[in-house]
């Protein structure tokens, strides 16, 4: 029993060392890696790159450097406000008149990180009145859930509004909704230009648009190609009102769903992985700059306003693992146990095994040191063989653990 209690303590010590010590290491020695900002020039029809660091460098795709003003003039759709102030905004680009109102209307920004997909689900959402006739949206007094039916719960007394719940449930059933809902996506805030309700997938992965118009349910089933399932739906509120949302399928294809006509269009983006990569989409009058960022690379695809591919760019750089600090890390720690993964918003144990076997050197050294300690204290080797195995496997973490909870008593 006592022997077991010691090994449990050793195991706990290994666990907490593997969490705490590498975390302290990175807190002390990590250096920021600044990724380049890649934009597409509507003047040169080529990529422009801005690298920040001690000195900000602005260049084009051939490596030619530019001053800040020159750089901004190559990117009038990104820096239109600055160019208007400086008086250097061109009147036309590719024959299209630069109307500032149109430029602003077409400008959009969208960002999706894996941690936004894998996050706790609130499960309750406010259903706004979409056509209240008021200038501003108002927060409703109830929240809805879609479980075995659609239910509205009044926040003030935590009771279900039966009448409203039955009304919405019955319309959903008539439209072929199969309860419960799998995903509910919307923009649950009053700070948006207008309300478009929610896009909801049911238990059979059918997609529905649900909103409330003059206190009555509006439910529309969206026709999908057979077998299409969505991993994530992100509703957007862009001024041009071209589409309701960006949708990411289980196969990591990106779609947009056009406003009012509900036409699903697949974007010409390849090799995107929503589980590990960050997606940013900058829209303007001519193009969508689709930026996909991994740990140590960036892939940029330019789409025209009809979502056809125009150009693409790829760049990679030295990641944290290959940096000087990363190499030293690989000589000290056989692994790191993280409580957080940057791609998931849940707390868990995320083991990150160190690549390569550099840590074996320190492990061997620690075995020798531990062997010396055993001999010096006159303990029997037979009784300590398991401790040596622990040190061999877990290195520094095990060495700390077996020495904080020493084996002397069992010699």
């Amino acid at each position: 029993m006592i022997k077991i209690s010691r090994y449990i303590l050793v195991a706990i010590a290994i666990l907490v060392s593997a969490v705490a010590i590498p975390k302290l290491y990175w807190l002390s020695f990590d250096k920021p890696i600044r990724s380049p900002f890649i934009m597409y020039s509507s003047i040169d029809h080529d990529f422009m790159i801005q690298r920040t660091g001690e000195k900000t460098i602005r260049m084009d795709n051939t490596g030619r450097e530019y001053t800040r003003d020159e750089f901004e003039q190559k990117l009038p759709l990104f820096y239109s406000r600055q160019l208007l102030i400086s008086g250097t905004m061109p009147d036309t680009i590719d024959g299209v008149y630069m109307d500032i109102h149109e430029l602003n209307k077409a400008r959009s920004f969208f960002r999706l990180r894996p941690a936004m997909i894998y996050a706790p689900d609130p499960g309750l959402y406010p259903m706004f009145e979409s056509e209240s006739g008021r200038a501003n949206l108002e927060m409703p007094k109830d929240y809805f859930r879609i479980s075995w039916r659609m239910e509205f719960i009044d926040a003030a007394d935590n009771r279900i509004n039966e009448k409203k719940s039955r009304m919405f449930t019955s319309v959903l059933q008539k439209r072929g909704f199969v309860f419960p809902a799998k995903k509910i996506a919307g923009i649950p805030t009053t700070r948006k230009s207008c309300d478009e309700g929610y896009f909801v997938t049911d238990s059979k992965d059918q997609l529905f648009h649900i909103k409330m118009i003059e206190a009555r349910p509006f439910v529309k089933k969206v026709e999908l190609p057979g077998g299409l399932k969505f991993k994530h739906i992100a509703c957007v509120d862009f001024s041009d009102k071209k589409f309701y949302n960006y949708l990411v399928s289980e196969d990591n294809d990106i779609y947009v769903l056009s406003q009012d006509v509900y036409e699903l269009t697949k974007l010409a983006i390849e090799n995107y992985n929503a589980d590990t990569e960050e997606l940013r989409i900058y829209g303007n009058l001519f193009y969508y700059n689709v930026v996909i960022r991994g740990d140590n690379y960036v892939n940029v695809t330019i789409l025209d306003s009809d979502y056809n591919k125009v150009d693409e760019y790829h760049e990679s750089w030295t990641g944290r693992t290959d940096s000087k600090q990363g190499k030293i890390f690989s000589y000290i720690f056989p692994a790191q146990l993280k409580m957080y993964d940057s791609n998931i918003s849940f707390t868990d144990f995320y083991p990150d095994i160190t690549k390569g076997f550099n840590w074996l050197i320190l492990n061997l050294l620690l075995i020798l040191v531990h062997f010396y300690i055993i001999r010096k204290k006159g303990f029997s080797l037979k009784n300590n063989i398991f401790d040596l195995i622990i040190v061999a496997l877990t290195g520094l973490f095990g060495f700390i653990a077996v020495n904080v909870f020493p084996n002397k008593s069992f010699a």
């Binding site: 907490v16 609130p122 926040a155 649950p188 409580m339 868990d348 904080v404 008593s409």
Partner: protein, 222 residues
Amino acid sequence: MFKSVIYKEWIKTRWFIILLTLIAILAVGNIFLTVQHNMSFKEASNYWYQILFQNSHYFSYLKFVPLIIALALASSQYIPEITDKRIKLTFHLPLRENRILIMMLAYGTASLLISYSLVFLIFLGLSNQFFAAEIVKLAIISVIPWFLAGFAAYFMAGLIILEAIWKYRIAYFIIAAAFLLLFFETGLAGSYEPINLKLTLITLLSSISLLFSAYRFRKGEM
């Protein structure tokens, strides 16, 4: 003999555990007075909105309450034992040494369990009164690690107090502190969902850690 050991533990700890449990219940009462106040002043739907979408934790006041109860219980139970090495007398009782320790440990664990259950049930009941099941579920997932941290702290405190050598006591303290930090990571409400079962298992395993220190104590490892 079993009754006598339990009675001795009860005499040592009763006021600590009763008083702290009452304070904890008052803390829960305070949480829901605040909830009630916010619901009437900010409008209930806005308050729900903050909880659901702005990561506002109505229960955060509870965070260190189980930990404080556990540390007070462990101190009241084990510090008298090491004063003048009284525990050595305990080891002379006509019972197997481990049995007495396990009885002490069982007493402490049961006291904590009763105290925590009371606090948790009141928290759960009142939460259900004010909030929908989804909000309550996220709250439960978030407070469970804090109660587990209480148990873990109780087990670790026993280990540290019964350790005779200061050098080791400090080392245990560092390991225990790092261990307890695992239960207090900040995140979204409900983010502990995948890890709660693992933390429960580790906490259960850590329950017998006290035996290691006590063994060293009575073998005179110093």
